[in-house]
Amino acid sequence: MRKFFPVEDLARDERFNQITMNDRMADQRTVITTDSRPSRAANRIVPSRGDASDAARGLMHGIFVGEIQALEGAGRTCWDFTTGEEAPFELKLDMARQCWDEARHVEISVKLSDWMGSEIGEYAENTVLFQAACSNDPVLRLAGVNRALEGLAIDVFTTMKEFGEVAGDQYLEFAEDWMLADEVTHVKMGSDWLRKITEDDPERRKKALDFQSVVDKLFSYGGTRSESQESPIGLARRFRELAGFDDQEIDVIAKLSLAALEERKAAVLEAQAAHN
């Protein structure tokens, strides 16, 4: 079986349309909007938003494709590295357990999407998650996928769980809560293995943490996730603590996310000035 699978070759049926981060950033409408009404001070996905149902459906679809890619990424980590030499057996066992969880999350996400009135493939699939799982160093994968992306999943699931709670949608609330518990475990696995494998290799650890920072920044693009109410997704501090992030690490992500939001706002103003 082939090792180190490129993102372009991921198997999908005709319902899916994949886009890259570049495609997303090429959409100038997200920065040049000339809507004369003031923008919302709060963009958090909450039931009181006028477009709450559609926004939640879109995010749910994003979770669904993210779960597929997380399954594919963890699966590749089980296979791509030589047992014992490149990756310990116990690490692979953890990745196999993660595959089991992610497969279950895919099924839960499909059922939640049905419940919310979405169809598979209704929204584009951003493949950036799997791209972060293509590093040829297992430690970088753990940092990029388990700590950065699964960390984002903690934030997303917390936002969706709260949405279900406030709306009175118990199916959404409980399903997100259960998936959230798994994600905390996945992040913890990443944190524990990162520390263990790089215990005597500070340079490798630094490289992995730098990679995590790049992925965190990429996923904070446009301030999508931050502690500001202007971001659709919040930063779930408590669950991140449970997942092995220390206060300093959470503060760094919080700052980075807020900086991304501010960069985004500055870019919007600049683009609008140029457009007008």
Binding site: F16, R29, D35, A52, W115, G117, E122, A167, D169
Partner: protein, 182 residues
């Protein structure tokens, strides 16, 4: 009757104004709005999907580009989304022009619950014109505004299966559903 679509060419999205005009004409015929001049103004500078009506001659429908977009292929036009969005807003235009909706609040004064009941009433009637509608999407939206319970679902069914409601009747169905769970 005239139908105009602006802009005639697009810069930020891959939309076709002549195609939009053809879909609008078909819907205007279906809904008996042939005696009105209608202009569809598309704001292609935002991916949001809000729609707004300005009554006058012509009746102007302001639409943000997300309302016509294929979400799986960003910036591309979706025939289905264009038909559904135009259908919803044109049925709302027809309601607003009828005496049965004379007492409906102005759009800016509608609550989220009122928006949900009117949207439900519009898409339900659209679905009976052989236009593809995901009923579950609208049921979910309705539940978000009326609660996830049997009373809410019964109110949705009643609205979904109705064709000739007045604003007051629509409002009563909603009020009763909300009162039952309070």
């Amino acid at each position: 009757m005239t139908v105009e679509v602006t802009p005639s060419t697009f810069t930020y999205v891959y939309f076709d104004s002549a195609y939009i005009a053809r879909i609008a004409q078909r819907l205007i015929g279906l809904f008996g709005l042939e005696n009105h001049n209608i202009r569809v103004d598309i704001n292609e500078t935002t991916p949001l999907a809000k729609m707004r009506i300005e009554f006058g001659d012509p009746i102007v429908i302001n639409i943000q580009s997300g309302a016509f977009e294929d979400f799986s292929r960003p910036r591309q036009q979706s025939e289905s989304a264009t038909t559904q969005s135009l259908g919803r807003i044109l049925l709302k235009v027809r309601d607003r022009l009828s005496p049965e909706f004379a007492n409906a609040p102005a759009d800016k004064d509608l609550t989220l619950v009122q928006v949900a009941i009117w949207e439900t009433y519009c898409v339900a009637r659209l679905s009976r014109h052989d236009i593809d509608i995901n009923r579950q999407r609208w049921l979910y939206n309705f539940r978000n505004r009326h609660g996830f319970n049997d009373a809410s679902d019964r109110a949705f069914e009643k609205i979904w299966n109705s064709n000739d409601l007045t604003w007051e009747q629509l409002q009563n169905i909603s009020d009763n559903a909300l009162a039952l769970v309070q």
